[in-house]
């Protein structure tokens, strides 16, 4: 009786919650196939907005820039974030550790306008006094994205590293592997799934960022969110629906792959009862 009650409650809550989360996305997807110019009135099925999207050089260019930045930022954030996690979990106490933890966790909640403004002012000040970076563009966006993505990667990798039995690393050292080799032969393969989900998270965050990029970008480095934002500011456009549908599709596939990999590695690293 008890379980029946709980599960009915759960079912109701979850169906309502997921309806709230998914209905707007579903509507976007449906209307991306709408023939009409009007986003909210159905006028028949059509692929025409997809065609227009792929003929829009500005959108395509922005998408390409965003993908490049996201790829490079995610990769750098994984390296920095993994180093930061090792510092947090394995290095014990050192002077300045509190400052370190603060700088790692603060970007998780820092309002984007503040991060964006402060980084821009840094780049301007550096440009004034050091002459570098001379011009803002992909490089400055990349630096900004690496900085805030590192925080997220650190959280993901840290939690995996904490779960890992430290004596496994000690065993490798005991058997004759120097620390750097222990890391590459033992630690890295074991935390690889976390690195992958951290990379995906950072990639998405970078791809998604409008506010910070708007502050630190320069001429000729319009990212996809910036292009989308200026397009929707001028009014609703069905082309954005088509883009949204593609984004949802790609994200879903990526998440499923990541999930599948994680499940598989979970089976390998967790104990199976005797």
């Amino acid at each position: 009786m008890q379980t029946g009650k709980i599960s009915r409650f759960s079912k109701t809550v979850l169906s309502l919650g997921f309806f709230f989360l998914y209905a707007p996305i579903l509507i976007l997807v449906i209307f991306s196939f709408n023939k009409s110019e009007l986003v909210t009135v159905w006028a028949g099925f059509s692929f025409k907005w997809y065609g227009e999207l792929f003929r829009d050089p500005q959108m395509l260019g922005a998408a390409w820039i965003s993908l490049k930045i996201a790829f490079l930022a995610a990769s750098a954030a994984v390296v920095l974030g993994t180093m930061a996690s090792i510092v947090m979990v394995r290095m014990g106490n050192f002077t300045g550790k509190t400052a370190f933890t603060s700088m790692i966790t603060a970007p998780l909640v820092m309002p984007e306008v503040i991060t964006g403004l402060s980084l821009l002012l840094l780049f301007v000040a550096m440009g004034q006094s050091l002459g570098w970076p001379g011009q803002r563009g992909m490089l400055t966006i990349w630096i900004a994205h690496v900085t805030f993505c590192t925080a997220f990667v650190t959280v993901v990798v840290t939690s995996r590293l904490q779960e890992m039995d430290e004596s496994i690393e000690e065993a490798a050292q005991d058997l004759g592997a120097p620390p750097w080799k222990v890391f590459f032969l033992v630690t890295l393969p074991i935390i690889a799934p976390a690195l992958m989900s951290g990379w995906l998270l950072a990639f998405t965050l970078s791809l998604d960022d409008l506010v910070i990029a708007s502050f630190v970008s320069g001429p000729g480095s319009t990212t996809l969110p910036m292009a989308v934002f200026s397009s929707v500011r001028m009014g609703i456009s069905p082309q954005i629906n088509a883009l949204a549908t593609l984004v949802v599709l790609v994200a879903t596939i990526a998440v499923f792959i990541a999930w599948w990999v994680a499940q598989r590695s979970l089976r390998v690293t967790t104990k199976v009862g005797d």
Partner: protein, 366 residues
Amino acid sequence: MSDAASSPMLEIRQVTKRFGQLSAVKDVSLTINKGEIFALLGGSGCGKTTLLRMMSGFETPSEGAILIDGEDVSKVPPFQRPVNMMFQSYALFPHMTVEQNVAFGLKQDKLPKAQIADQVAAMLKLVHMTDFAKRKPNQLSGGQRQRVALARSLAKKPKVLLLDEPMGALDKKLRSQMQLELVDIIESVGVTCVMVTHDQEEAMTMANRVSVMHLGEIMQVGSPSEIYEFPNSRHTAEFIGSVNIFDATVQGVGSDASQLSCTDLNCVLSVEGGVNAVEGAQVGVAVRPEKIYMSRTQPEQGDNWLHGKVEDIAYLGGHSVYHVKLASGKTVMATTTNVDRHEQRLTWEDQVYLYWSASSSVVLYQ
């Protein structure tokens, strides 16, 4: 093994380890001989694990030196020491097969492939795990994992094998079986072995010599029977097995026997041999429960007996432990073997006499 026992393999010289204010290991010196199985025995926090980790190189001594085969390794990092450890959790690499786990250490030495393969095969054969070579650790049972961990730590033919709580991850029934099996394997290889355990039975079953540690210090080193029969301190006597300790005052010291007085006894307390204390000194006298006899009638001997009431009986199958309450309020334990099924045994509230021979007791000075 007596022929090899003379040459030392591992020497701990006045080693101290401090963590901040706390001294985990205090001025410990030990010599462990070639081919010996040596146990560090103690409760949690006694410093035994820290000492082991200094032998393996995961901690460096604050003071003192550690020598392996005559060479000072105090500052040598773990990956360059001729020492291998079997971890309590076994610490098998989850992403490698059994074979790859055993081969890991050999690969670090950059041995030729064929030699690695031969050595891995030999090790797996030694621990009877040849059939499981291609399995991953999570497909093995607890006992099998232990064998793989042992094979992995033996594969490099270390000068010293370290075992950290070797039975810690196994259930009770498997333990006693694996204890003997482990000893057989270690002795067949002939490697010098240091183990850490909190389980006195495990230490006594497996080790040739045991050292009892307490609060960072070594209390006593000796063979299992020496430690059990001749403890040198209250702590060791109480830590190993059960014991009755009487607080006594030295009265007369002789070369064959000495007399002491104790308020718990109805007569004089005598011990074999001399006592290393002046008359009037306070000492403890330890008597193991199995060395105490019980009877309903007053014993004929004039010393070493007392009178009390049976307060509790723990029936343990093979033997029973009687808790006898004395008039002084002290409780004394005595063990009887249950030889006869129908014997008329003593029961609760019975008045009994307990007695023992002067050669059964040990004087404790600290």
